[in-house]
Amino acid sequence: MDLDSETMDGKVVNVSNGTSDDRNSQVQGIKQIGYGIFQKMTESEQLEFLQDVFESLNQPQLRKAQELFSSLLQKDFISLLPAIGLEDIAEEILAYLDYKSLCAAELVSRQWKEVISYSKLWKRQIEHKIKTDKMWKGLLERRGWMHVTTQTQTENPLLTSEFYRKLYPKIYNHIKTVKRNWIEGDPAFKIINCNTNGESKGVYCLQYDNSKIISGHRDNTIKVWDAKSLECKQMLTGHTGSILSLQFDSNILVTGSSDSTVRIWDLYTGTMVTALNYHREPVLHVRFIGAVLISSSKDQKIAVWSINRQTITASLQTVLIGHRAAVNAVEFDENYIVSASGDRTIKVWSAKTCEFVRTLKGHTRGVACIHYRGTLIVSGSSDNTIRLWDLDSGGCLRVLEGHNELVRCIRFDETRIISGAYDGRIKVWDLQAALNPLISSNVLCLRTLWRHTGRVFRLEFDDFQIMSSSHDDLIIIWDFDEQGNPLEAVHQAVFEDSEDKMIC
C-alpha cells in the first residue's frame, strides 16, 4: 500500500517537474493540431505540403525517411502490386479467400477496397460458388443466368466488376430466403388442372426439367407441358391403359402402363418407337439409366432390359423373381437394384450379376414406394410409415411416423425427404436429423403441405420447388423460390443513372 502511493507520488512529481517534459507536452499538442490540419487537406494539398517538408530535410534525415517509406510501401503489397502492373498477383493472392475474408479485406484501406472491387475477384467468387454449391448453380440455371459466368465483359459490357460485387450478396441473400421459405415461408402455388371433361381421372406420374413437365394419366394419355407457360404442348397416345410410371432423359421417354406394356418414345418426334411385351399384369414402375431399363409389375416380376439407344429398341436381359406380391417400385444404380413389394419387403439385388443380395423386413404392410441413393434406402408403406434403411447392413435406421394413410410416393436429396400420402398430405422431413439417432423423432417432420383433395401419387423436387400429382387431377408446383429477380435488381442498381437498362 505504501509502495503504491510512493510510486504514484513519484510520477506526479516527475511530470510537473522537468522543463524537458513541458516541452514534450507542448510538442505533442502542436503535433496534434498540425495533424488535425493535415487531415483536413485534400490529397493533392497533402502531397504538396509533404514535398515542402522533404525539401527542408537534411541528407541523413532524407535517408531515414526513405527507409521508412520503403518499409511502409513493401508491407502493403496488395496496393503496391497493381501500382507496378502486377495486379494479377494481387488477385492471385486474394483469389482463394472466402467471401467473408474478402469483405473484411475490402475494409482494410481505400487501396485494398479498390483492388478488390475493381478486380475479377467477386466474379471468381460467384464462379466458385456455382461449382461447389448446387443451389447457386440451380438458381442460375433456373433463371437462365448462366451467361454471367460464361460471357466476358467484351461480349456484354454490363458485366462489370461492380456488377459482380453487387450480384454476390443478392444471390447470397436470395438463397438464404429460399432456404428459410422451405421451413416457414408460404410457397407460391402454380396449379395445372388436368381435368378436361369434368370427370376426375388422376395423374399417376410426372417428371420435369427446366423446360418441360411430362405427366402420365389415368385416361391412357401422356401430356407434355411447357414449364413456363404451363400450357399443354403435346399429347402422346398409344397405351391402352393408365400410365402408371414414366421417366425421360434428353432423348427418350419410357412409360409403364396398366395395359401391361412398357413403351419407349422418341422425344424429338413425339412418337412411340417400341412397345415391350413381357409382363402379364400392369407395369407399376419403370426406371432407366443409359442403356439399362428395369420394369416392375403386378405380376411379381422385375424385368431387366437392354436399350439400344440408336434404334430405340430394347431386349429382355433377365428377370428377377423373388417377391410374393406386386412389385410396386424399383430403383437402381451401377451397384444395386432395390425393389419394393406388396409382400411387405424390400429386396436388394446386385446390378452387375442380377443376383439376389438380401431382403429388408420391417414394414407391417405392403411397401408402396422407394428411393435409393448411395447406401441409403427410404421407403413408404401402406402401414403409414416411412423407413430409412442402410443398404449395406440391411438394418432399419429410423421409422418416420406422421402420415395417416398409405405413403404412396417418396423422394430424398442430401437435406430432406419428401413424402406424399393417400390423405392428400405432403410432408417434408429433415434427412440429416433423421439419420442422427440422438435426435428425437418428434422434430423430424419440418412441415406438412396440404392442398391436394385426392391421393398424392407422385412427387419430384429440387432445391426450389416440389411438383406433385394426384388423384384429384391436379399437378401442383409448390414454389419456395423467392419471387423477384436479383439479377435485374443488380442491373438496375448498377446502371440506375445510365440509359442502358438492357437486361441480359
Binding site: S71, L86, A104, L107, S109, P169
Partner: protein, 169 residues
C-alpha cells in the same frame, strides 16, 4: 556439369547447374538465348537479374534446389485448377523455409518468383500472404500488414454498410 552464373542486382554471383537454373522459366529462356547467340557451345552463360537482390535470389535458388526433382508446373496454369497442387506439395521443408520470413521478404520473393517464372514458389508465397487475411477481422488484417485505415469521411461506414450482408448471421 554445365554451369551458369546468375548475378543479382547488387552484384553477387551464384554459380548453379544449368539443369537447376532451367527450372525457372525465365532462366531457361535466357540460357537458350545465350546458346543461340554464342559461337562457343562450351561457353558458360552469365545472366544478370537486375531486379532481384542477392538475399532474395539466394532464397529462390535454395527453393529450386530443394524442389529440383518436382514436376515443373506450367506458368499459366488454368485458373480453375487453382493451387491444389501447391497445397498438396507444400512440405514441412517449405513451411520451415517460409516460417522465419517477414512479410516484406515474402513480398520480394513473390516478385522474384513471378519474374523468374517459378510457379511453385509463387504459389506457396501467395498462399502464405492469403493465410494472413483468411478468417481475420479488419483490425487483425491491418495489424498483420501494418496498415492504417485511410478512408475519408464516411467511406469506411459506407463500405461497412455495403458489406453488412456477410456479417449478418
Amino acid at each position: 556439369m554445365a554451369l551458369v552464373r546468375v548475378i543479382s542486382s547488387d552484384g553477387a554471383a551464384f554459380l548453379v547447374s544449368q539443369r537447376l537454373a532451367k527450372r525457372s522459366g525465365k532462366l531457361k529462356t535466357e540460357i537458350e538465348t545465350f546458346r543461340k547467340s554464342s559461337d562457343n557451345s562450351e561457353a558458360q552463360p552469365e545472366i544478370r537479374i537486375v531486379t532481384i537482390r542477392a538475399e532474395i535470389l539466394r532464397l529462390v535458388l535454395q527453393w529450386l534446389q530443394q524442389h529440383q526433382n518436382d514436376p515443373v508446373l506450367p506458368a499459366n496454369q488454368n485458373e480453375q485448377d487453382g493451387r491444389g497442387d501447391a497445397e498438396m506439395g507444400q512440405s514441412q521443408w517449405d513451411r520451415d523455409f517460409l516460417a522465419p520470413m517477414d512479410l516484406g521478404i515474402v513480398m520480394e520473393l513473390i516478385l522474384a518468383a513471378n519474374h523468374l517464372e517459378v510457379k511453385g514458389l509463387l504459389d506457396i508465397t501467395c498462399k502464405l500472404v492469403e493465410s494472413k487475411i483468411t478468417g481475420r477481422t479488419v483490425d487483425e488484417i491491418r495489424t498483420a500488414f501494418k496498415l492504417k485505415s485511410d478512408f475519408k469521411g464516411n467511406e469506411e461506414e459506407q463500405t461497412r454498410l455495403e458489406n453488412r450482408w456477410c456479417v449478418e448471421n
